[in-house]
Amino acid sequence: MPESPINRHSRVSSRVNNIPFSGIRRFFDLIASSDDIISLGVGEPDFITPWNIREAAIYSIERGHTHYTSNNGSLDLRREISKHLKNRTGNLYDPTTEILVTVGVSEGLDLAVRALTEIGDEVMVPEPSFVAYGPIVHMAGGSVIGISTSMENKFIPTITDLENNVTDKTRAILINNPNNPTGAVINREGLSKIAEFVIDNDLIVIADEIYDRLIYGNKDSFVHFASLPGMFERTVTLNGFSKSYAMTGWRIGYATGPEEIIAGMTKLHQYTMMSAPTVAQYAAKEALVNGENSLNEMLDAYSMRRRLLVNGLNNIGLDCVDPDGAFYAFPSIKSTGLSSESFAEKLLMEEQVAVVPGNVFGPSGEGFIRCCYAASVEDIKEAILRIGRFVERETNSS
């Protein structure tokens, strides 16, 4: 075999080698080795996709809709998305040029970052944040500027922190609203300040709004970032069906934004994905047309479980900001003196409750854990009992 001109230590590229495995990978092994686990560690609904949506997908297969759709997704679905967004946000997205159907928000995120950033560009990401943001920016040749948030500020980034961290190389800001893992929702006032900052620094916004339908209390507290004055032309919004309609396994989402950006993303999408799964597109259309009742039923259930979990955590001494959206609570575990990882690991070993250590979502997540309340009422109650027992032992021993 001829000698390689480059001395390669690994067959895998250094760019990929430099990405760490997702922080909770070793948890899977731990969990696999224990029984009777109650998991608050999930990031998806416990509901099964509503039957009418599943049935629409089955019907599409029966009818033989098994071919590619147009690269951007079926026009039928894009029209429904456009109508849906018009009703909800007031923004009118042209179904032919301003909407791209993606394989979940994960793909949309990858496309957006790659379409928008040059090598060496910086992307601001308020953290704690979803774990994929960093690696995706890294793979696109950019770097992430993490903006710390704190419990005191309800995990909402301050403008001072944004201003102190912006540089000439900053190209975009990635906003996940409502936020995974904290459940924080930035209100209109907060978003307007960010919008001003965006204009002042000539940035682009990637708005990950996958949890937009999971809002508790005042439903109007969620604002579609691109609906703010001047933001349409600067924002690409990522959304999907996974969380609202319990469709995580279908892998279907969409990106909306100005024609130029969507066209750029479509170029990447057509060479990597061709098109999102056709059967999932039929299911998604049914979700938009006839999914509202199911969504509201699930929302009612989440709302009750949220109260149960948040009150429960506060009662056992784990302080918790009221999460206004998504289905996560993000309590502080600082009173125990444990790090997030040892808390999660010990809790799993001693009480068989799985939670996600907050530090996997960024340095500001240290001292917190993420607990998901997309779990049954019985499981949440039992989990709180067990966590309470654990916290008491830890607090007494330290």
């Binding site: 509901f47 009150n311 996600v356 009422v377």
Partner: protein, 160 residues
């Protein structure tokens, strides 16, 4: 009130303290609302839904279409209530279409039901005709699937 009723509709055994945990309402307030709903016949009853088939031969169920003659002043109501009061009748509705009442009738066996139809139901004056359809298999009752619930299998214990 509606929130409490929706919870009770799904689980009649849940108590006020559990409802309080879910809704954030005070236990005392919940108890009062429930008592009032019971008094006002908004809550009609609490009972268990049982799959008798699991214990061997379950009861026989028939859906009986009944054509009746309406009566002056009371329309269908008087005769309908007269039929509905028989314990064999598990549920009954006035319906639109070719006939008037749709009654679900339960018996130990086919003979029980035919006995009820021929000797009791058909002999009521206002009853002009009946048509009996025996239930062959139950799939779903009162919103509950029988013998085929969806299971959320395969959800990963941890995902981000």
């Amino acid at each position: 009130m509606e929130e409490i009723l929706r919870i009770l509709e799904k689980n009649g055994r849940i108590d006020a303290s559990q409802i309080s945990e879910l809704t954030g309402l005070k236990e005392e307030e919940i108890r009062e609302l429930i008592t009032k709903a019971e008094k006002d016949n908004i809550i009609l009853s609490y009972k268990a839904q049982i799959d008798w088939g699991k214990l061997g031969d379950g009861p026989v169920l028939a859906i009986i279409e009944v054509k009746i003659a309406p009566q002056r002043d009371v329309g269908f109501d008087a005769i309908a209530m007269r039929i509905a009061r028989f314990p064999e009748v598990k549920s009954m509705h006035l319906v639109s279409g070719d006939y008037d009442l749709s009654a679900q009738v339960e018996g130990k066996n086919m003979y029980d039901i035919s006995n009820f139809v021929t000797n009791t139901l058909s002999t009521i004056d206002a009853v002009q005709g009946t048509s009996t359809r025996f239930v062959l298999k139950r799939y779903k009752e009162d919103g509950t699937l029988i013998g085929g619930d969806d299971m959320a299998e395969g959800r990963l214990p941890v995902s981000l």
